[in-house]
């Protein structure tokens, strides 16, 4: 069991983080905290991707003949997940930007970011 956790600790970190994020998104009453939860959720996935691309002792994936005469995949980290996550980060930033804009609009309209108070105001 300990081996299982230690050998794949990157996955466990991502699972814990994603659960924290999920909890924030679902259980928090404050919309800003929900947004923070959402960000944690997104970033945990990004961490997950990055960790699957990493290799112990690997270097940047630019072929360097001085490292080893023949090209060995082991010497280089897998660049693809990192590249993908670059895009995912952009997406995350855009989503956060829009979320903040919406929050400003909501705050202006209701004077609060507490979900129950907004719902109360909507009922009237």
């Amino acid at each position: 069991m300990t081996d299982l956790i230690l050998s794949n600790y990157n996955y466990w970190v991502y699972v814990v983080l994603i659960m924290i994020g999920f909890y924030g998104m679902m259980a928090k009453n404050n919309l800003m905290k929900k947004l923070i939860g959402m960000n944690i959720f997104q970033w945990s996935i990004i961490l997950f991707y990055i960790s699957i691309g990493a290799k112990k002792g690997g270097t940047i994936p630019v072929v360097d003949p001085s490292l080893h005469p023949a090209i060995r995949a082991l010497d280089y980290v897998n660049p693809l997940p990192h590249v993908l996550m670059l895009t995912a980060i952009v997406v995350g930033v855009a989503t956060t930007g829009i979320a903040l804009t919406l929050l400003i609009l909501i705050y202006r309209k209701y004077g609060t970011l507490e979900e129950d108070e907004i719902l109360e105001a909507l009922k009237k």
Binding site: F22, Q42, Y49, L84, A88, A94, T95, A99, L102, I118
Partner: protein, 498 residues
């Protein structure tokens, strides 16, 4: 040039969205024509690609940057998504024409340019999701479509920003689930290309990683397409969105989601995996049964026309799910055809809802008395689209239901079949209640029209009527020519496993 149509479909609206934004700063009036021209071009691109597919019988592959598929991003147009693309392009164009006066009415002048820019971005996302053959690219375009949707919905009335925020929380959850699913598949296969994935995955079907990834993918697309238990974001956000927005989003976004679901179930994974090895389609079917019943009844309970239509979207998605669940050729034909039909049906319905709200100044179905006198064309379109949703021939809604029905019978899924039939009955009650109010309770001047003193009834503009009439015409034409569509396109779109 025809060679480049698949990529132009995505890049042209993307570039144009920024140009519209910039030009809009200097000359506000240029935004609308630019939008129209771009969407017309997109229709040309979509039609051209689809025509190539139809005439050669082979899918069109497009490799971005000339990188060969497993490494580079690939855009594919085949019989399945070619059809969806053409439908998307037509509805998006009609919705844009319709939006002209609606935007002037609903959106503050200073926001016109950003509105059209977002509109283009939305189109980019939808076209991209449909045309791409790469799992991760699909995620990016899905998010482009999603966050332009959040922003567009946030422009709406009343609690729209709040609804948009809730939509965003749900939508992000869905997108992240999708991303995780892609990650799991990537871990085990090292590939992101759909066709390549299918090849690599086949020997790996016993792996738990594949199953988990598959489940994440389904949850993710389920949220985006408003599949029953995770549909909760839809009614609020689409109801409160501006009419000009809901007329684009409501018909298209969920349908593209449904298309993605079919892609994942039957292209990325082999049909044998989705239907038998892991009986995902069965599960989807039973959920769809619950969803159809639930949302039909919820729709019956609504007095707000637009909210009612929103629940109807969930019902229609349920029908598509049932076709998928039949797990045979006929059912899937019905599902694919229903994706196309539902675009037009929902476009017609949301157009009428918007026009009624704008001119009749109410969305409450109780107050529709005398509607047909004031707005004859709109109510006629409402009737045609409504009959199509109910499934009265010769409208297109009947023919997709016909295939769905045959599919359930072939699969001997009697509960699914009963749900299909019961669902259309519930829809019939829903719509005939509205028809009755609008046609048979005449009052010369409905009281709510006089509510605001000095307001005069303003007739619907030509730019609203023409798209409505065209949509209604499409609803009937799609029905009459369903044979050709099924024979020349959908027959090839159904995967080989059936």
């Amino acid at each position: 040039m025809m060679l480049h149509f698949p990529v132009l479909l995505v890049v042209v609206p993307l570039v144009m969205s920024f140009f519209i934004f910039v030009f809009g700063l200097f000359q506000r009036r240029i935004c609308f024509p630019l939008t129209l021209v771009t969407l017309a071009a997109c229709l040309l691109f979509a039609g051209g690609s689809f025509w190539t597919v139809l005439s050669t019988g082979q899918p069109v592959h497009y490799h971005l940057g000339a990188w060969a598929p497993p490494w580079g991003i690939e855009y594919v147009v085949d019989h399945l998504n070619g059809l969806v693309l053409v439908g998307l392009a037509i509805v998006a164009l009609l919705a844009a024409i319709y939006a002209k006066t609606m935007v002037e009415r609903e959106i503050p002048v200073a926001k016109h340019a950003p509105f059209y820019a977002l509109y283009m971005l939305q189109a980019t996302g939808l076209f991209g999701m449909t045309v791409t053959g790469d799992m991760f690219n699909l995620y990016v375009l899905l998010e482009i479509a999603s966050f332009s949707a959040y922003a567009l919905i946030g422009m709406g009335e009343g609690a729209a920003p709040f609804a948009a925020f809730r939509y965003m929380i749900f939508g992000t959850l869905g997108a992240c689930a999708y991303l995780l699913g892609v990650g799991y598949l990537y871990i085990i296969t090292g590939s992101l290309n759909m066709a390549d994935l299918q090849q690599i995955l086949t020997p790996l079907y016993q792996s738990q990683v594949v199953s988990v990834g598959f489940a994440f993918l389904l949850v993710g697309t389920g949220v985006k397409m408003a599949y029953f238990p995770v549909h909760t974001w839809l009614p609020d956000s689409y109801t409160l969105a501006p009419s000009s927005v809901s007329v684009l989003l409501a018909p298209l976004f969920t349908k593209v989601g449904a298309y993605v679901l079919i892609r994942i179930l039957f292209t990325v994974f082999d049909p044998s995996f989705s239907t038998t090895l892991l009986p995902a389609t069965q599960v989807l079917g039973w959920i769809a049964v619950a969803g159809i019943l639930f949302s039909s009844i919820m729709a019956l309970a609504q007095t707000d026309l637009k909210r009612m239509l929103c629940y109807l979207i969930v019902t229609e998605i349920g029908y598509i799910g049932i076709g998928v669940a039949s797990g045979n050729r006929l059912g899937l034909t019905g599902s694919i055809f229903h994706i196309l039909n539902d675009m037009f049906m929902m476009a017609g319905l949301f157009m009428t809802a918007g026009a009624i709200q704008a001119h009749f100044r109410t969305r409450k179905t109780d107050e529709f008395a005398g509607l047909h006198r004031k707005m004859p064309v709109t109510s006629a379109v409402l009737v045609i689209a409504g009959l199509s949703v109910i499934g009265v021939p010769p409208t297109c809604g009947f023919f997709s239901k016909w295939y769905l029905l045959l599919g359930t019978i072939q699969a001997e899924q009697w509960v699914f079949m009963g749900t299909l039939l019961l669902g259309s009955l519930l829809n019939a009650i829903l719509f005939f209640r509205i028809f009755e109010r609008s046609y048979f309770e005449p009052r010369p001047d409905p009281p709510h029209l006089g509510r605001e003193p000095g307001t005069r009834f303003e007739r619907a503009a030509m730019s609203e009527l023409v798209p409505m009439i065209l949509t209604a015409a499409f609803i009937i034409l799609l029905g009459l020519f369903s044979g050709y569509i099924v024979q020349y396109s959908i027959a090839y779109a159904v995967p080989k496993g059936f």
